[in-house]
Symmetry: C2
Subunit: 341 residues, 2 copies
């Protein structure tokens, strides 16, 4: 009745004190046993028994305060609905979980403000590190990343001077692979449905496409721009078809490609007979479509895994020099461009 708390936590749950008292040892001994370091056979037995009896579970927060780490890794991504990020997330989660940590997922909506706010919040140290895959990289991103007290790994391009670990691919070359493949298949009017030109991937893919068509002596006038979503891809394809009649379309990602496929089929065009289609990112979506869509793989799983490993390495040793990993693009040919079923 109203007796003062003795050893239990504020909410009545057992603490080390509870266990120690019950086992008749000091909290130091109890803690040691609970952490598996030291203790005589008898002490170990009594502490274990006491802990089991009261249902002791260590408080993760208190432990974090002491150890200066939370065991949490954050993954910030603009659109969790895009399968490419799901693939990355899975790969990251696997590595993170194996290291005994947990993954925190942030949706940023691609807003620069919310991404930098997120990066700044890292200063609160509620996570041990963050993997971020920004589609726009601004000065405030860079500033926030370099100022962060906890390690940050970027999946994507980053100015060379920025001393932050990063994993990149080469979607410029990737776009070229798609064009080369289509031209090799005899296509002569190759169009391109891109994402926004104020994004890093948008710019890279635009450059890659233009360089490739130029290489083949073709003009680069069949370009439409939208955002990186299904609806935008469909709309862009409709605009394209309204003004021209391409015999092949390269899409800046698979969502756009699926939207374009929809528009093509609706307008009665056959894929790949009338129009060949190539997407990018090689997500599940490309395989789930009918016909299945050829796609430029940018190694999402590999990039995710590498990013997670870079991050864990840096958490283990902050003194490491900044590292960069590069994952080469490769083309996966499927039915939409005349490949297999």
């Amino acid at each position: 009745m109203g007796r003062k708390r003795l050893h239990d936590a504020a909410d009545g749950r057992p603490t080390v004190h509870t266990v120690a008292a019950r086992a008749g040892v000091s909290i130091a001994s109890a803690s040691r046993v609970l952490n598996g370091v030291g203790g005589s056979a008898e002490t170990v037995r009594r502490v274990r028994e006491a802990a089991a009896a009261v249902g002791y579970v260590p408080n993760a927060i208190a432990r974090s305060l002491q150890s200066q780490r939370t065991g949490l890794i954050a993954f910030a991504v603009e659109d969790i609905g895009n399968p490419v990020y799901v693939a990355m997330m899975r790969a990251i989660e696997a590595v993170v979980a194996e290291s005994g940590r947990q993954l925190l997922v942030h949706a940023t909506s691609g807003q620069v403000a919310s991404e930098t706010a997120l990066l700044r919040r890292l200063a609160h140290r509620y996570v041990d590190g963050m993997i971020i895959s920004p589609i726009r990289v601004t000065d405030s991103h860079v500033e926030a990343m370099t100022a962060s007290p906890v390690p940050v790994v970027v999946i994507g391009q980053l100015p060379d001077a920025v001393p932050v670990d990063n994993v990149r691919t080469d979607s410029r070359t990737g776009a070229g692979l798609a064009v080369d493949h289509l031209v090799a298949g005899g296509r002569t009017r190759v169009a391109f449905l891109n994402g926004p030109l104020d994004t890093v991937p948008g710019v890279a893919r635009d450059a890659g496409f233009r360089a490739a068509v130029a290489r083949h002596g073709m003009s680069a006038d069949l370009i439409e721009v939208g955002d990186f979503q299904y609806a935008a891809g469909r709309a862009a394809a409709e605009r394209l078809l309204a003004r021209s009649r391409p015999d092949a379309i390269v899409c800046a990602n698979d969502l756009i490609a699926v939207g374009a496929l929809h528009a093509l089929l609706v307008s009665g065009l056959r894929v790949p007979e009338d129009v060949a289609l190539v997407g990018m990112d090689d997500t599940e979506l490309a395989q789930m479509s009918y016909p299945q869509i050829s796609s430029v793989s940018l190694g999402s799983e590999i990039r995710g895994r590498l990013a997670a490993q870079l991050l864990l390495d840096r958490i283990a040793d902050a003194g490491l020099p900044p590292r960069r990993e590069q994952v080469p693009p490769s083309l996966v040919i499927r039915a939409s461009s005349g490949g297999g079923a």
Copy 2:
């Protein structure tokens, strides 16, 4: 030069002590000002200035130890690649973010062991609450949920006696809606591609399908079972077509439906002319397919939002009686069953 730490944290970052010292006040005053409670105009000014000067950011862990809450909400889901969970996650994240908290996402792979392990780990109190959507519910789930010191909300069915907040829908009725619609459209050989029968949704949908076909005086022999994935749907449809010739197929979710669509198209059947198709969950996938797939909406976003709200309410007041919310299914008709484009 090896001078002892004064007021900074172990890693050299400023703490309240740093700010207080610089402002020439006590840490209590500094803390008060930093939290916006009390302080004379002059004190407020000096503390603010000092905090800004040293770039003070409060340590989230220390604050959590004090406040007994982490500001984290967990969402545990078996397959983060399924768009239905992405939809739920988005809805949950919106509510959670609005409350100033952050979302932690766990992938359980649907393993009972890993789900209960997760629930047990809640005892560590590293999150303020958890939303879980298990497709199997075992005694150990129930036990772990009721024993959890932090609130748990379940999205899905739960035995009535279990005193845990939950949000459910009625996929049994949902399956019936699909059958009714197909029969109304003149289909007489309606098949069903279901997920595993040892899962809660698998059982409910099976019951719903059987009851509905019986209601229409039809037999329920065109049933194939796989798991809730694309590949399984495709394989199940292939098995089905190998042994029979249905004129309509109900699928237990959209992933299965997309797989079935693939199999149908590959085998040269037209959708909906030869075979009508209805999925379930009404995910983006249904809209992205061609033809677009009719689907039974189970209100994923609504369920996610409700679950998040139930959880926040309970965090605010642990004394609340257990609550249940029910979201009714509804049919969204699209081209795959003879509806619009």
